[in-house]
Amino acid sequence: MKRIIVGAHYGLRDWLAQRVTALVMLAYTLVLVLALPRGELTYTAWKTMFAHEWMRFATFLFAASILIHAWIGVRNIWMDYCKHTGLRLALEIATILWLVGCAGWAMQILWRI
């Protein structure tokens, strides 16, 4: 029998991950708005905001959430519109590498402060 392999058992996990990461990012957005320095934005105030340990923790969670959320979302786009299996696989791999690279850069930016 000819089988078309599309993978299995990641539906619910990804569905849930998409929603949990969405809530994390929503919470972070609200925290960021509250934590933003009031008045004229200076380098010191901007830097101090991201230098707090709790803020670094929150920003790390935000970055990790983007990584997972964007992976699921972009993969769904490839699955919907890219019908060529080989090309889709290549795009999916490129997406993962790109996102992991971006997350690495984000960590470097935050921990350098």
Binding site: M1, K2, I4, L23, M25, L26, W46, V74, M79, I109
Partner: protein, 129 residues
């Protein structure tokens, strides 16, 4: 004997283009488009964050950079994409827990997502400008 291989033909793709999209459908596709846009803009955002947090001089360069109209306009587009995606996401989460599933409310909330996304962009954009 039924054809068992037919059941395995997944995923399925339907051509829905002949249908006119109702407003909840417009929220759905713009949710996807704004998400894709944010994915593409991620690297630019990191570039800006890196520049602004790197050094005092970098921060000054960042301020001059984002003050330029050629930079501001795409920044506003990304701001809209973020806020619209966020609003559409909140609506999606509410639908998930069974809030506003009836047609009239779903249409109204879809409309509200577009208005809220644009209004928030205008508000924050005006503050940042």
């Amino acid at each position: 004997m039924p054809d068992l291989t037919a059941k395995k033909r997944r995923p399925l793709w339907f051509n829905l283009s002949p249908l006119n999209l109702p407003i909840p459908g417009l929220v759905s596709i713009s949710h996807r488009v704004s998400g894709a846009l944010l994915f593409l803009g991620l690297i630019w955002f990191l570039f800006l964050l890196d520049m602004s947090l790197g050094s005092e001089a970098g921060f000054a360069r960042f301020q001059a950079y984002v003050a330029h109209p050629v930079v501001k306009i795409p920044m506003l587009v990304f701001l809209w994409a973020y806020l619209h995606h966020l609003c559409a996401g909140v609506r999606h989460l509410l639908l998930d827990i069974g809030k506003g599933v009836d047609l009239a409310t779903a249409r109204m909330s879809a409309f509200a997502v577009f208005i809220a996304g644009l209004a928030l962009t205008a508000f924050i954009g005006a503050k940042l400008w």
